[in-house]
């Protein structure tokens, strides 16, 4: 009897312990961010902005804390990731650019950590490495339509960062949009060979203007130059019309909220339910229809643009959102005419 009683108690204890182990839900989450530049660059600033929003919304009831390490490339970034991992305070390491070499070296050493790679230049590693891609080619197409309609001399410029896939797609869509309404548009393309360099951005914008461009898509955040030259510009990633209302007609916006929530969900599933990590090995991006990107409002240009043009943009936006209009992803190297 005693034996049975003890066995029953033991079985009950084991069952209770097992039950509580699976039911034990994490309440805290630390996210370490590796940024190639820092909050001064729109690419990084948008992530920090959206992460703060996610922290506020507390998905799964999590108390989320994050720390950003700025301006790290190559092995420096790898060392920073390892320090974050070793500290034990971070369950997700979000490497916000092309860091797959560094993550590849660490992912097996820290199997409990979820790594995130972002954008072009990475390879899909799978396992505990997830790959977030950002495409803003759809709003860029709409900016192109605006440019095609607004240009007076049919010379339209783009000042980009590096000729990488997730820059090329935007430039090609921008010109596709411009030529869809104005086949006479001539392309002027320049790359500053940096992810963030305001001085170079200004030089290259001036060169575009000198080459005849009366409108430029400023992927590199130099709008004072446009104001000085009294030309219209288009912004990228963040709503530059808020800060440069005199020159910025509209901007192609990006949002990381969906991506962050997806990654946190994957980690939570691993931590709470023991579901193994299953990182994607091919590009995964959130389209405009699902909030991955958007076209900004026109701010000061709301009253300057014709009602017909605004209507045209609204119609095209709706068509993209509904899937009626598909903007192809063109990754070829954009060149000037």
């Amino acid at each position: 009897m005693n034996i049975r009683k003890h066995a029953a108690i033991a079985a009950l204890s084991i069952a209770t312990a097992a039950g509580s182990a699976t039911a034990e839900e994490p309440t805290e989450l630390g996210i370490g961010l590796i940024l190639a530049t820092g909050p001064e660059a729109a690419w990084d600033a948008t992530l920090l902005r959206d992460l703060e929003g996610v922290v506020e919304s507390a998905p799964h009831g999590l108390d989320i804390a994050f720390k950003n390490i700025n301006g790290k490339w190559g092995e420096d970034a790898g060392d920073a990731m390892e320090l974050l991992a070793k500290s034990g305070r971070y369950q997700i390491i979000w490497a916000h650019s092309s860091y797959s070499d560094q993550v590849k070296a660490l992912q097996e050493k820290y199997p409990e950590i979820l790594f995130v790679l972002v954008g072009a230049g990475n390879e899909g590693l799978g396992g505990n490495a997830y790959w977030v891609y950002k495409r803003a080619h759809e709003p860029s197409y709409l900016l192109g339509v605006l440019a095609g309609r607004l240009t007076e001399n049919n010379v339209v410029g783009v000042v980009g960062q590096f000729p990488s896939e997730d820059v090329n797609d935007q430039i090609n869509s921008f010109f596709a949009g411009a030529r869809s309404v104005n086949p006479e548009v001539q392309r002027k393309v320049a790359f500053i060979e940096s992810w963030y360099d305001p001085a170079k951005a200004e030089q290259f914008t001036n060169a575009q203007i000198a080459a005849g461009a009366d409108l430029t898509f400023q992927m590199v955040e130099s709008f004072e130059t446009c104001e000085k030259a009294s030309i219209m510009c288009f912004g990228n990633y963040v709503d530059h019309g808020e800060t440069s209302p005199d020159s910025v007609v509209a901007s192609a916006l990006i949002s990381w909220t969906e991506d962050i929530n997806w990654v946190i969900g994957e980690w939570y599933d691993y931590a709470a339910n023991g579901t193994p990590y299953d990182g994607n090995t091919s590009e995964k991006w959130v389209p405009m229809a699902d909030g991955g990107s958007a076209l900004s409002s026109f701010h000061a240009y709301e009253d300057k643009l014709s009602a017909e043009l605004k209507e045209e943009i609204a119609t095209l936006s709706a068509q993209i959102a509904s899937g009626e209009l598909a903007i192809p992803v063109d990754l070829s190297l954009p060149t000037s005419d």
Binding site: N70, W73, G74, S164, F191
Partner: protein, 356 residues
């Protein structure tokens, strides 16, 4: 009235004192900044120390960070001692890495003992040729070397971009980006210690410093380099072929910068991409200047910079200091160092005007 006159020699003790003082003042100013931000000074400096010298691994990482700076610092020393104001270390470093990579494309499965020397040699030829081109433009057409080297920096960086952006060197198997594929292992510079990436580039850099010191101090070429800096006209009257000396200096400087590119690309990153090298050439100019245009001084300055870089990394990760303060601290320390380097090279006097 304030007058600034060059010192003949400040003496090594005075130089050491000036730099130690600069270090203390730099840290004091940084401490004020950290306090103003509400973060803990002791925690921040503790992390800085831990990253710079806190463990054997940290020390090795600091040496890794210092290695390319030793090369570009030496490149500065060689050129600036001859008063040739080459700002081309950045482009020459890129050229070296590119030529090294280009050579590796023809080496296939060659064992590292054969492949590495060829890669290093090709890099030195590439960097040296770029430096030599600026020297030739200077001697043949009187093109100011500051202009030519700065302009060629752009040319080389954009040439690399052309080759990587969908060009023949673009990586396959990943999304298109400005980088080559990862190198085969026989092209990696051999590691010296365990898992930390301290590679043979470091002893090579020390050897290069020793060679530079011997050249400058003990050889006729060194005499010509120093004399070129003091008085090129007198040197010409002495019968020295100044054109030849300028070309040699620029080739040497370019070859040294190129080794920084090899070190960073084949020793640390194992694939060619521009962003991982960006700024190492320009930092080398500061390293050379802080090192008093002396090869040994440049090594010491580079080691300090390497320790600071690695310490800053630890500080950003392990302390609660706001991320933007870390580069600000580096900048503050740099300003104090540069001020010290001016003080050891120049005498600043206040002269009261004499009224007659």
């Amino acid at each position: 009235m304030i007058t600034i006159t060059p010192r003949t020699s400040a003496g090594w003790q005075a130089q050491l004192a000036a730099y130690v003082l600069a270090l203390l003042l730099g840290f004091s100013a940084s401490a004020l900044l950290i306090t103003a931000s509400g973060a803990s000074v002791s925690e921040g400096f503790g992390a800085l120390y831990e990253g710079a010298f806190g463990s054997w691994e940290a020390v090795l990482q600091s040496l890794v960070a210092a290695t390319p700076l030793i090369f570009t610092g030496l490149a500065t020393v060689i050129a600036f001692r001859a008063e040739i104001w080459s700002i081309g270390q950045e482009g020459q470093m890129f050229a070296g890495a590119m030529c090294g990579y280009w050579a590796s494309l023809y080496l296939g499965g060659a064992p590292w003992l054969i492949a590495i020397p060829i890669i290093i040699l090709a890099a030195m030829v590439g960097g040296g040729a770029l430096g030599g081109l600026c020297g030739w433009l200077k001697t043949r057409f009187s093109v100011n070397e500051i202009i030519s080297t700065v302009m060629l920096n752009y040319v080389v960086v954009y040439l690399l971009s052309y080759l990587l952006a969908g060009g023949p060197w673009t990586a396959e198997g990943s999304t298109s980006y400005h980088q080559t594929p990862v190198f085969a292992e026989n092209f990696h510079l051999p590691l010296l210690v365990g898992s930390v990436k301290l590679h043979i580039g470091f002893p090579l850099a020390l050897a290069a410093a020793a060679v530079c010191w011997v050249i400058i101090k003990k050889t006729p070429l060194g005499f010509e380099i120093r004399a070129l800096g003091f008085n090129p006209t007198a040197l010409r009257f002495k019968g020295v072929n100044v054109t030849r000396t300028v070309l040699i200096v620029m080739c040497l400087s370019g070859a040294l910068s190129a080794l920084a590119g090899v070190s960073e690309i084949f020793g640390v990153n194992y694939r060619l991409r521009g962003d991982v090298m960006a700024g190492l050439g320009f930092t080398g100019i500061i390293v050379g200047m802080i090192g008093g245009l002396n090869p040994i001084g440049a090594v010491i300055a580079a080691l300090l910079f390497g320790a600071l870089a690695n310490g800053s990394l630890y500080m950003s990760v392990l302390s609660d200091i706001p991320p933007s303060l870390v580069p600000a601290m580096q900048g503050i320390l740099l300003l104090f160092f540069l001020s010290a380097s001016v003080l050891v090279r120049y005498s600043i006097n206040i002269v009261r005007p004499v009224h007659v």
